[in-house]
Every structure is written in C-alpha cells, then in structure tokens.
C-alpha cells in the first residue's frame, strides 16, 4: 500500500482495497492473543493477577485516587472477558464488548445476591468477582493454547 499513491489505488479499483483496510474480513484472523505466543500468556496472566492486585488495594484501604480506576476497570471488564475468551472469538473488539457486557451483568447479579443472602460487604463482592474471573483463566491455562475458531461468514449454513 505504501508505495502506491492514492490516485493509483483508485484507478486500480481501490474501493475494494479501502474496504479491506477499513474492516478486516472475518476470515482473516486478527491476532486475538490465542496463538500460544507471549501475548496469549501475558493476557492470561494479566487477567489472573489483576484480581488479587485489586483485592490487595481494597483490603489495605489504599486511597481512592489510587484504587478507583483499577477497581472500576476490573469490575467492568475482567470477569466477563475472562469467560468470553474461552469462546475463542477472532474479532477481538467484539470479544471485549461482550466481555464488558457480561462483566457488568455478573457484577449486578453478584451484588444483588449479597443483598438477598444478607451478606453485604464490598470486599466480599469483589472477592467473588475475582474468583469468578480466575476460574476460566485457570481452565484456559490448563487446556493450553488452542487455534482460534473461525468466525467467517457462513456460506454453507452449517453452523457446526
């Protein structure tokens, strides 16, 4: 792409090339960190260790300006993302969005469960979230790196 001028591209049917650059086609696997490389292990370790790290900040009552952002980020992203990663979706952005949605849902259910069980403390709630987030990461580490599942558009109608 770099050696071509933009005018050249357009004359050679550049519209298709624009499309390729704007959104990677689904059958071109984006690097989602599922290939067993350092990124795969790094991401899993980040998901695994961020929980205890946040819990330490809360238990030792770190000042709010230190722990507010990590706590909100953890509650809003990590538990759901840890589970969604097990699905091996190749579109990382969709994976993160589903992870955020699932994290918020898990947070709602955990917090409400504590109310119904009359066992309300924010530390307990966070501990439950850390446990929920750690389980799929440990499973992932146990199973080891696996190839991404294709999320290519199905042309055959066979979804198996």
């Amino acid at each position: 792409m770099a050696e071509l001028s933009i005018g050249d591209e357009v004359r050679r049917g550049g519209i298709d090339r624009i499309r390729l650059r704007l959104v990677p086609p689904n059958d071109q696997a984006t690097t989602s960190g599922n290939d067993g490389g350092w990124l795969w292990y790094g991401l899993l370790l980040l998901l695994l260790l961020s929980g205890p790290a946040v819990l330490v900040l809360v238990v030792f009552d770190a000042p709010s300006w230190v722990r507010a952002v990590p706590v909100f980020a953890y509650i809003g992203v990590v538990p759901g993302l840890a589970w969604i990663r097990l699905l091996r979706l190749t579109d990382r952005f969709t994976e993160i969005l589903l992870g955020i949605g699932l994290s918020l849902a898990i947070g709602v259910l955990v917090a409400q469960l504590m109310i119904y069980l009359h066992a309300w403390t924010s530390t307990l709630g966070l501990s439950m979230l850390v446990a929920i987030a750690s389980l799929p990461v440990l499973v992932d580490l146990y199973l080891g790196p696996r190839p991404d599942r294709s999320t290519a558009r199905s042309d055959s109608g066979d979804t198996s």
Binding site: I6, I15, R19, A68, V71, L87, L97, L109, G125
Partner: protein, 631 residues
C-alpha cells in the same frame, strides 16, 4: 506513451494527490485539534447564560465550528480516503461523544439532573445497610444497578457515587457507540455503513436515558443480547433459500399464475407507476450471513445472552420487556435460529416478578398493569400532557418531536430504498419496529415514547444510512457525502436543543445543594423536608432518615395553607426548602408565571406562621412556628 496521453493523465494525478495528501495529514490531527478547541470553548461558557432554550443560549460559536470541522473530516475519511485507519475514525467518534454528551460536564460546576442524585442516594443506602427499601420506592424492587454501584464505589474507596455522575453519559455513550457499530456491522453489507450509523446515532440519542441510572446500564444489556443474536443466530442464505423455494413451490402449486408475457400485456399505467415505487422480488436477497461457530460456542453465547438478560431483569422494569419483545419479533420473522429463546426469557422475567418484586406489586398492581392495552391513554400522556411549559420549553418539545419523526421517516425511506436495491434486511426492520409494541404492554405512561425511540434508534440509524448510501461503492460520492454532512450538522444542532434544551432546570445549582447540605447537617432525623416542586437535589444520602414531600404542580392560590398542612403533618418537625431550581422548574416545565416563586416567598414571609432559619445563594429554609388555626 505519447505526449498527449501524458498531458491527459498527469494533471489528473496531481489533482487527485493534493487533496488526498492533505487529508492524510488532516485526518489524524483533526480529532485532537477539535477536542482542544471544543474544551476551551465549553470551559469558557458561562453557565449563568443558560436561558429557556437551555445550553444553546450560552454555547460559543467556536464549538459549532469545531463540531462542523470534525464532521467534515469524518465524512471525508469515510467517503474518500483510501486506507484510512480505523483508529482515526474511532478518535473522531470519541471526540464527538465527549463534546456532545460531556458538554454539560465541562460547563456546569455540579453534575446535572436531579434524578441522578436520587440514584446516588439509593446506592448509598444499599452500601450502608446491605438492604433495599421496596416500600419506599418501586425502583428498590429492581435494585441490581444500585447494588452494583454501591459495591463498586465502596470497593473503590469513594464515599458515594456523586463523582461518577458527570461523566457517566460519556462512558455509556462510548459503550453504546461501540455496540451499535458491531450491531450495524453484523447486518450491513459494507464496512462503511457501521461508521455512518454510529455517527448518526450519537446526536440522535438525545433522549438522555444515559445518565447514572438503571436504564443507562440496561441499554448496554439490550444491545449485547441483540448483537449476539444478530451476529451468530441469523439464518444463513442457504436456509433462507430453502425456505423461500419451499414456499414458492407451494404457492405455485396452489394457484398457478399467468405467464410473464401475458402479465406484461395487462399492465395498466397505474400498475406501471406502482412498480416504480414498489418493492421488487428479492428485496432481502443480500441479507448478511451469520458468523460461523461450533455448537459449543453457540450454546455458550446463548448462555451469555441469558445471563445478561437475568441481570437486566434484576435491574430495570422496562428493558427486559423490550428485549423479550425484540427477540420474539426476530423469531417471528424467522431471523433468529434460537426459536425457544423467547420462552426462556419469559420464564426468567415472570419468575423474577413473581418472587422478587412481591413487596412492590402486592400494593401496586394497578400501577404495574393499569396502562396495559390503554393505547389512547398512553398517547395522550405522551403527547398531550407532556406538551406544556414556557415558550422555550415548548420549542424544545417540538424539536424533540420533529427529531423523532424525522429519524423514523428517514429510516422508513431508507428501508424502502434498501429493499429497492435488494439490500433489505428483515432483522433490522423487525428490530426497528418491535419497540413500538411496548405501547400496548407497559405501565410507563407517556414516557414510553422516549423509550420506544431509544430502543429502536440503533436500527433506525442503520436504515437511515441506507437511504443516503444504499449501495457501496457510491455512484455519486460527492452528492452522498454532502447529504450526509447536511444531515449530520442538522442532527447535531437538533441534539443540542433537544438534549440540553431543559438545562435551565435540569442543571443543579450550587446554591440549591448548599441549602440541602445545611438541612442534612442540622435537621433532626425523622423530620419532613417540604418543597414546592420535586426539582431539588436531595435524597442523595440518608434517604431513609427523613420524609420528603414535594408538593407538586397543583400548588395553587392556596399554596401557603397547603405548605402549612404538609409541615404540620409530622409532629417530629418539618422544614420548608425554597430554592431557585424549583422556581425555574415551575416556570419552564409547568408554565407558571415569571416571579411566582418570589410571590410565594412573600406570602410565606407575611403570613407570620413561618420562621426563616437559612438564606444563602438563592436557597431559603423555613420552619413552621404557628400552624394555621392555632392562636
């Protein structure tokens, strides 16, 4: 190559390269530049200049120029710049959201919107006690959002959720925009439609349900569930074709039609004209394919959808119904292969309502079901009763109604044009229309129109983009880009009026908060706080320790006796709170005459039954010294 050829081609190359080279530099730089200009413009805005038309009365011209520049470069990036990196488009969208949905946070010293302060109080109660108060407020029967906020704020070391209020709309809208992009990508045939859909969505989402509230969070849940179904559970083209051919074979066997040559001869002029606007056969031919996934992944994704729906059921009254209606609609039009999903959702919803909201509905069954099926009542409540207030407020309401009707019209025409281009998508059309069914099955009264607009918006904008650009590559890119630019600018201007048009009373004044803080510091627990209207930033803490009595709009000429009655009702004492925010609310929202607040104050002062115990920055607090009838 001959010299004539060179002459023909060389200038063309230069002509093309120059603007593209300019764009290559300008596109990545514009978002940062616009953000700086926009923030400077917003920070220089004086909140005291806000009048009856809201924030637009106070905003400087630089902000409008900055937004127009941002719009122009975004459209240029989408339409003409090959090889533009998605991060550049994302930066444009992020800046657009920050400047539009964060405008009030830059201008006003305190978080806006009194209901958001109340939600802080709900979360604060749960954080302190670990319990809910369903007898106090219906929202405590769906406490999921407040429980999450309580847990997160306490874990983060914050005293309450007030610091989150100002920027919640920006965070929520960033999430919405990302989800709308993925939803649009799941249904659109081209890479650029999702970007344009998001660009229209941001200003079209003026309703303001994105504040610190259960509905703000639940909109994320709504989009997540529908994204999962649209991306992975659509029927493939093979399945659709199989179904279509089966149906056609049955139809032809039942009633064989005349040969095409004969039909053509019998076409009259009316039918010929009709064919020009009619929808051709194969209008849904190019519907998007589902993403392929294994059975385990599909089952897991259904699990994700169910879990998200459970969280939605536990945290909001209306959104689960909206999800259920939309999913049922998808199944009904055969655009969701998880056909038993609506049944599962219904069981979860009924189970929650039956067991975990008993404390509420046992005494409020009429409130929950009273409006069900009462379409005319809902329409009257939505259009008639909400259309009142001063001139500025009425203009704002008209802009809102025009904006809603405009978006729906554009979407309708877009659906028609997409189908004419054989690019129609039944799932999108079904989801755009499904929220209208909430008119028949809800108890939200007139406010449901706002919710219908919000729930249908992600799909309406996809259809609206189809009107301007039904097929990519565009036949006349300049014309299409110009139309998109004009529409974007129009939407942005309308957004600023529709969203911030009520800012005169939706902003929270420091003097009002100061008076409320004084009350909490000095009033004895168990006493009653009385106010003329509900537009008071109270109940953000200690909601269970005091009684709150906003007297409401029917406060007429006998207002002072009404106030006295409300204050005398509590033997443990009562405080009358008068603030500027209440007076502005009364004038703008209820259409009371200018100066009505001052005249009530005068009546109170001259009645001799009240003692002024606090007066600062527009806030006044009285206690009742001698109730009427006592000597």
């Amino acid at each position: 190559m001959t010299s004539s050829t060179r002459l023909r081609t060389a200038p063309e190359t230069r002509r093309w390269d120059r603007p593209q080279a300019l764009l290559a530099v300008a596109l990545p730089a514009t978002p940062a530049f616009v953000l700086v200009i926009g923030i400077i413009a917003l920070r220089s805005t004086n909140a005291d200049d806000i009048r009856s038309l809201g924030l637009v009365d106070a905003l400087p011209t630089q902000l409008y120029i900055a937004l127009a520049l941002l719009t122009a470069t975004f459209i240029a990036a989408v339409f003409s710049a090959p090889g533009v990196r998605p991060v550049v488009l994302v930066a444009h969208i992020a800046v657009f959201i920050v400047l539009l949905h964060g405008a009030a946070a830059f201008v006003e010293p305190l978080p806006r919107f009194v209901p958001a302060w109340l939600h802080v109080g709900f979360a604060d109660y749960i954080a302190r006690t670990g319990e809910t108060l369903p007898e106090l407020d219906a929202r405590f029967s769906w406490p999921g959002f407040f429980a999450l906020a309580a847990m997160a704020t306490r874990a983060a070391g914050l005293g309450d959720a007030l610091p989150l209020l100002a920027w919640t709309p920006v965070v929520f809208n960033l999430l919405y925009a990302a989800l709308v992009h993925r939803v649009a990508r799941a249904v659109a045939g081209d890479a650029r439609t999702p970007w344009l859909a998001v660009w229209f969505f941001i200003p079209a989402n003026w309703v303001g349900q994105d504040y610190f509230s259960p509905q703000g969070l639940n909109y994320v849940f709504y989009l997540v569930v529908l994204l999962v179904l649209l991306a992975w559970f659509r029927p493939s083209s093979i399945e659709r074709a199989r179904r279509r051919f089966g149906r056609r074979a049955r139809t032809e066997a039942a009633a064989p039609t005349a040969p095409a040559s004969v039909r053509r001869l019998t076409l009259g002029p009316v039918r010929r004209a009709f064919r020009l606007v009619s929808i051709p056969r194969g209008a849904l031919r190019h519907e998007a394919e589902p993403l392929a996934a294994g059975r385990t992944t599909l089952a897991s994704l259904i699990g994700v959808a169910l879990l998200v729906f459970m969280a939605s059921t536990a945290s909001h009254q209306l959104t689960p119904t909206a999800i259920l209606v939309s999913v049922t609609m998808l199944v009904a039009v055969r655009r969701c292969s998880a056909r038993t999903l609506p049944v599962l959702l219904l069981v979860i919803l009924l189970g929650y309502i039956s067991y975990l909201t008993v404390a509420y509905w046992a005494g409020h069954l009429h409130d929950m079901l009273g409006s069900v099926g009462q379409l005319s009542h809902t329409v009257n409540a939505g259009i008639g009763e909400r259309t009142r207030g001063d001139r500025g407020h009425l203009i704002v309401l008209q802009v809102r109604q025009l904006l809603a009707v405009g978006i729906w019209t554009l979407a309708g025409l877009g659906a028609w044009r997409l189908m004419r281009a054989r690019r129609g998508d039944l799932a999108v059309m079904a989801l755009a229309g499904a929220p209208f069914l909430l008119l028949f099955a809800q108890s939200y009264g007139g406010e449901v129109f706002l919710r219908i607009y919000t729930f249908s918006l992600p799909f309406m904008v996809v259809l609206a983009v189809g009107l301007l650009v039904p097929v990519w590559p565009v036949r006349r890119p300049l014309l299409a880009a110009a139309m998109v630019f004009v529409l974007s600018i129009g939407l942005t201007g309308a957004f600023l009026v529709a969203r911030y048009g009520n800012e005169s009373f939706e902003r929270v004044l420091p003097g009002d908060v100061e008076a409320v803080d004084w009350l909490y510091a000095n009033a004895a627990p168990g006493s009653t706080f009385v106010a003329l209207t509900s537009n008071v930033p109270w109940r953000a803490r200690d909601i269970e320790q005091y009684r709150y009595t906003p007297l409401g709009e029917d406060l007429g000429p006998d207002s002072v006796p009404a106030i006295e009655r409300a204050m005398a009702a509590n033997p443990r004492g009562a405080y009358l709170l008068l603030t500027t925010g209440q007076y502005v609310w009364g004038e703008s929202f209820y259409g009371k005459p200018p100066g009505w607040g001052a005249s009530i104050e005068q009546e109170i002062d001259t009645s001799g039954h009240f003692q002024l115990i606090y007066a600062r920055h527009g806030g006044k607090i009285y206690i009742l010294t001698k109730p009427r009838g006592e000597r």
